[in-house]
């Protein structure tokens, strides 16, 4: 395997409302920031993650290339998924050995539509989507299956929002309160907030990484696994695919200083902790995590970026990042980032 590291990460100051910027305008500053941080103007490969349904326009991701600059022609790809999965493609592309750097970005404006119902469109068109099963409803089914302790969920949201208030890029959300349910057993605050934002990461291989960063965040393991789409075909109380991806990425091969998990609902944290074998003393989502800022299609990439940032700035030596896609944690990506190889 070729050694690949995260050498730069940037994200927008995420907002809970539409600031009036189009996606390329949202993206331009973060692309600019990672270009300045690395001194790179061109990359061996560019890969992005976004979802056309967020903007309601086919091939809307193509216009985002305006923020990158695609002339002379660049080598470019896109996944209709979170940017974390674009990062996986870029990591694979770097394994080919003919290029040394890659730019990865993800972006999304959930404010433009109703994300709960947009997410219905990702469900299978035969059995689930025709029922009008929305995102919070299927998440609530998983919360019911895991039967999470209410006080523990409240504490996860309280901690996430407090950490989010301390994170200049996350939203300022108050401590959770209120007894009403969104879809029982989930309360409104158990659901990640509607957020607009973008993020970018630069990957570099081998000595290029050492040249571009003082403490590159080496990706010592990265893997993703998927489970059956249909909710009734799997045990929603556990995340088998996260556990398998975590094993393949080598999470358990060393101590974990910090974990950034793609928890769009509070009950997903205990499921993911268990799947990854993270003990109670592992710090999870010190950034506030998705419960404090959830720019859909960038949120997973931000988990990798936040984990890498702590390696890059020396505040952690080994970190785990997780990203998810599909209903009820259907597909999960796990990356281990380490200050040494």
């Amino acid at each position: 395997m070729r050694d690949v590291a995260v050498v730069a990460f940037a994200q927008t100051v995420h907002t809970g409302h539409d600031t009036g910027l189009a996606e390329p305008e949202l993206l331009l500053p973060v692309i600019d920031e990672v270009k300045r941080a690395t001194g790179l103007k061109r990359f061996g490969f560019t890969c992005s993650g976004s979802c056309d349904y967020l903007a309601g326009a086919p091939f809307s991701f193509v216009s985002a290339l305006d923020a990158v600059g695609a002339w002379p022609p660049i080598s470019e790809s896109h996944v209709e998924m979170d940017g974390a999965f674009a990062l996986y493609e870029a990591w694979v592309r770097l394994q080919h050995g003919d290029i040394d750097t890659a730019l990865v970005y993800g972006f999304g404006k959930s404010s433009m539509s109703d994300i709960r119902e947009i997410m219905t469109l990702q469900l299978d068109p035969y059995y689930l989507a025709p029922l009008g099963l929305d995102q919070v409803s299927y998440a609530a089914l998983q919360a019911a299956a895991v039967n999470a302790d209410r006080a523990a969920l409240d504490e996860i949201v309280r901690r996430s929002r407090a950490d989010g208030r301390a994170n200049p890029y996350a939203l300022d959300l108050p401590d959770p309160s209120g007894e009403e349910f969104e879809v029982e057993p989930l309360r409104p605050y158990d659901v990640a907030p509607v957020t607009d934002g973008a993020a970018a990461v630069v990957l570099a291989a081998g000595d290029h990484a050492r040249e571009l960063a003082g403490r590159p965040a080496w990706i010592t393991g990265i893997a993703h696994r998927a489970e059956p789409h249909y909710l009734g075909m799997r045990d929603l109380a556990r995340s088998v695919s996260t556990a398998e991806a975590g094993r393949a990425a080598g999470v358990g091969k060393g101590p974990v200083d910090v974990a950034e998990l793609h928890t769009q609902f509070s009950h997903e944290e205990p499921i993911l902790r268990e799947a990854l074998g993270l003990s109670g003393d592992v710090t999870v989502n010190p950034s506030g995590g998705p419960l404090a800022a959830n720019p859909v299609m960038a949120t997973g990439l931000i988990r990798i970026g936040e984990a890498a940032r702590r390696i890059l700035d020396g505040s952690a030596d080994r970190a785990v990042a997780h990203a998810t896609s599909g209903p009820c944690l259907q597909q999960n990506l796990v990356a281990v980032l380490d200050q040494s190889l």
């Binding site: 009036g20 035969y126 029922l131 409803s137 299956a145």
Partner: protein, 307 residues
């Protein structure tokens, strides 16, 4: 910063009339059976019955067998989520549950709606059955929703009576009509019973002596009631045993004019009467008992009850 004059356009993404999809043989079989109001699963090589059927075994990736198995129509709820405020796209326009339902004979769970009326009606293990749409078309929504199986019914019970109070209670109510509490003294026991009665429940003697007791007394015990009652003005209300001064037995009465949580044993109270012109032969003449403001009585000396 958002500009005051931000331009916003409404935009709709839609396939007018819907997007046509082919089902393939496996899903098509399920939907065809559904149109005939039958539920079928497909058996995997490993023997598991997938409902709804998929073309491949999710465990192995192998194609499923061609053996279709009728399942249900009843099933068991494994997990549920309660929707208090249905959205326009939801299958029901009143509160309902999403549920994972394992149909009888199936090895997997079906996701559908349960019309249960209240979240209290739901529990893991609840037995449910489909409610079919009047016209079926071969669509997952041919099942409108699932309904809990019948496990109870409500039987009407009602009989009508004409009751009379009897001589002793009539005498007591006559006193109440006149703003007085009438008791009876047992000469043998030297105890005063309120309300008035014609015989002593302790010794069986005929009570000869009628006595009037005070409109003031002491709360000996009480209960805070949180269920509405037509005889009480509001919820919560306090019903108490009041030992009227001069009586040896307490009388049950409402306590009012004081927050429920302030009522206590030993509290001194007085009767609040309706104006004389509104009185009838009824205990309703006493609106309730209210605190007198006197210091609490020592309950050891006023525990009530006949000696």
């Amino acid at each position: 910063m958002p500009s005051e004059e931000s331009l916003v356009a409404a935009h709709v993404l839609e396939f007018p009339g819907g997007y046509t999809r082919t089902t393939g043989p496996v899903i098509g079989r399920f939907l065809t059976e559904l149109r005939d109001r039958r539920l079928v699963g497909v058996r995997t090589a490993g023997g598991r019955v997938l409902v709804p059927p998929l073309e491949y075994d999710p465990d192995t990736g192998e194609p499923v067998t061609e053996e279709y198995v009728e399942v249900g129509p009843a099933g068991t709820v494994q997990a549920w989520a309660w929707v208090g405020s249905p959205r326009p796209g939801h299958p029901l326009d009143r509160p309902f549950a999403w549920a994972l339902i394992r149909l009888d004979g199936a090895g997997t769970a079906l996701v559908h709606a349960v019309d249960a009326g209240s979240p209290k009606a739901l529990r893991p293990g609840l037995r449910v059955r489909p409610r079919w749409r009047a016209a079926t078309t071969g669509h997952i929504t041919d099942i409108e929703c699932f309904l809990p199986e019948v496990t109870s019914l409500v039987a009407p019970v009602r009989a009508e009576y004409r009751v009379t109070p009897g001589r002793a209670l009539t005498r007591f109510l006559e006193g109440v009509r006149d703003g007085r509490f009438v008791g009876g003294r047992c000469a043998a026991c030297v105890a005063v019973y309120v309300p008035y009665r014609v015989s002593c429940p302790a010794c069986g003697s005929v009570i000869e002596e009628e006595v009037e007791v005070a409109g003031t007394g002491t709360v000996t015990t009480f209960a805070i009631n949180n269920l509405p009652d037509p005889r009480a003005p509001e919820v919560p209300f306090v019903s108490a045993y009041v030992l009227l001064d001069g009586a040896d037995t307490p009388m049950i009465a409402l306590i009012g004019g004081v927050p429920a949580h302030e009522v206590r044993q030993g509290m001194r109270v007085r009767a609040v009467w309706l104006p004389p012109e509104e009185r009838t032969l009824s205990m309703a003449n006493v609106k309730w008992f209210e605190p007198t403001g006197e210091p609490d009585a020592d309950l050891d000396e006023s525990t009530g009850g006949a000696r």
